[in-house]
Assembly symmetry: C2
Homo-oligomer: 348 residues x 2
DNA sequence: GATCCTAAGGAATAGGTTTTCCCGGCTACG
DNA sequence: CGTAGCCGGGAAAACCTATTCCTTAGGATC
């Protein structure tokens, strides 16, 4: 375990010399290959241990044509969304002894290109591209050098493999939950309409409500921004125009926090008067709220894990193509209690 | 720019052949070395362009003894603290053409050791260790293979280079600001006392207040946890025991959010009755609050950048040892307006 | 005693690049 | 005309490892 401090790392040549064998023999002994006497094998491993030998992966990569590295590119400044995705991906890839290069483009195409060039030079085995928006983005220009998997985003070339959250399904689950807990006048406050995710969530809600015979017009959706401030403002707008509202489905936990604030200012009690559902299950926001928020978890880490597994498969020569969706999960907390005494709505 | 799709990447040998020169000549042409005719140089670069040649960094690293990679190890699950640090570090390192391996140990010593072994095998040029607590941690066991810089944490071997936030200085600045805006009865609600950061912040506040002749006893500090819930509870406790309180300095923005909530419940107006200062400048929390929070920014990204620069210097053979501190910065928002009509406190 | 087989381990090659050293040819100068 | 020096470029070593092919020696078989 000690190493020759300060000098450059021990090579297999040093090990071979110390064990009194040739380089090839040392290699075989360390990798369990070839036909060697047990005593020789032992002598080599012992010498390796003593010298603190660790094989040089660069040399291995040069030889084998595989580097056991992948790049992970994000446009999200490694924010709230891409982090869990990265963790999941890293988890899946780590199982394959793969190390991950981190590349934050900061939404700058020049930076992205520079990173890409570097990754190509480093001969990565593959690439994962993550983002904060699910809108299709221009495909990366890498020819067919290595496989690419998109996570939380997708390429304009629809055939490229991509793992996406189930925004619509998540909204459906949330809407059903509100109906089942007895709510009938449900509002929707969310982010900008130009976000595909916002539109999908609104669509999911709309389908369930109209399917259950509960009136809901698409133009009742309050599109705004992804901020608490907008939540506060929108709560006032919504309760002014629809005072009978008994539940609000929010497009993000941040918005939900703002809505909760706004409702309190209006003298409206959560969840007694109005139930609240958020989106993202962003822990500090959702559990810190009073009451803690029921919210939709799109399972970012699972998305990342799946992306990693798909990439591993593609590297192994077995690529899957097209878009995959990860089912969302509703996390029920105190902002949506069952209404006692009301008959539950039929599950549509 | 086109590449021979599907085949393995072009090597310098291909370029040399295409340009009708030897490998060595091609290398010189591409790297601006040696004495070559301009026409030859041009012919080579043109061939490289045409073949989409990118030098194999593995081979370069093998030869040069430097891989132009570093590892970044965090125990923080890439959370709120380590992300900005990472970004700053990556920024500094990227300027040196260095790529970063991402390693999340999830606080598991086994994982940490595995990552370490991998990084050693990959012959990284250096290592940055980040954490979420500034308490000294056991030094990494890497002999003298490569330099290590600690960021947002430090090693028990106090001589190892480390970049730390200035918790005490940040608290000092916050306290002075509260005095300057006319507050005189200042409470402190913060995280668990076992956190060194919490104790340092309390110490900074205490120094300023006692120095200014404002009474403040160390046992008045409300240590609890880093959560909104604790903020809500502590606000009630504080105002019960000290109704004259006109300002609260909080150990985190999350706690400050809870305190704001608690104060509102008590019928206490922020900032009219009580001014509020947070810590961290965690954007979604601090700017989403109503009113937006004045808060201490420890400049995590700068800490990371400095760590990256120190690591670059160490790799270059010029290591700096010991602990460096990055000055904090007070971000003033609406939760601490100047009290009109009060005479400002003398800046102590 | 000759041949064949097996066990054990060595030699050599490949992988891609950089760099050092060397060589041939041409110019300029004496 | 001879030689020193420069210009342009080639050959080869070095980095480190895994693997394929060989060699050697010994034992077994006929």
């Amino acid at each position: 375990m000690p190493d020759s401090a300060g000098t450059r790392p021990a090579t297999i040549r040093d090990v071979a010399a110390a064990a009194g064998v040739s380089i090839g023999t040392a290699s075989k002994a360390l990798n369990g290959q070839g036909r060697l006497r047990a005593e020789t094998r032992h002598r080599v491993t012992e010498a390796a241990e003593r010298l603190g030998f660790a094989p040089n992966v660069l040399a291995q990569g040069l030889l084998g044509g595989r580097t056991y590295t992948v790049g992970m590119i994000t446009t999200d400044s490694f924010g709230r969304f891409s982090i869990p995705v990265m963790l999941g991906a890293e988890d899946a890839l780590g199982a394959g002894q793969i190390s991950v290069f981190m590349c934050d483009t900061r939404d700058d195409p020049d930076r992205e290109q520079r990173y890409l060039d570097r990754l190509i030079s480093r001969r990565v085995d593959g690439l994962i591209v993550t983002g904060r928006r699910i809108e299709p983005r221009p495909a990366l220009d890498i020819g067919r050098r290595f496989p690419v998997v998109y996570a939380m985003t997708q390429s304009l070339d629809g055939d490229d493999p991509a793992i996406l959250p189930d925004d619509e399904g998540g909204a459906v689950t949330a809407a059903r939950h509100l109906l089942e807990t007895g709510r009938r006048h449900i509002g929707h406050i969310t982010g900008p309409e130009r976000f595909l995710a916002a539109r999908k969530r609104a669509a999911g809600l709309s389908h369930v409500l109209t399917g259950a015979g509960v009136p809901f017009a698409a133009d009742e959706v309050l599109y705004g921004e992804w901020s608490e401030r907008w939540g506060r403002d929108a709560a006032r707008i919504l309760l002014t125009s629809a005072p009978a509202t008994d539940a609000i489905f929010c497009g993000s936990d941040q918005i939900a926090r703002g809505v909760a604030d706004g409702l309190r200012t209006l003298g409206c009690h959560v969840p007694g008067d109005v139930a609240l559902v958020g989106f993202d299950n962003w822990a500090p926001m959702a559990t810190g709220a009073d009451p803690p928020l029921t919210t939709v978890d799109v399972r970012l880490e699972e998305i990342g894990r799946l992306a990693g597994q798909h990439l591993l498969a593609a590297i192994g020569g077995d690529p899957e193509r097209g878009v995959h969706t990860v089912p969302a999960e509703l996390v029920i907390r105190d902002s949506t209690p069952a209404l006692i005494g009301d008959d539950p709505a039929p599950a549509t």
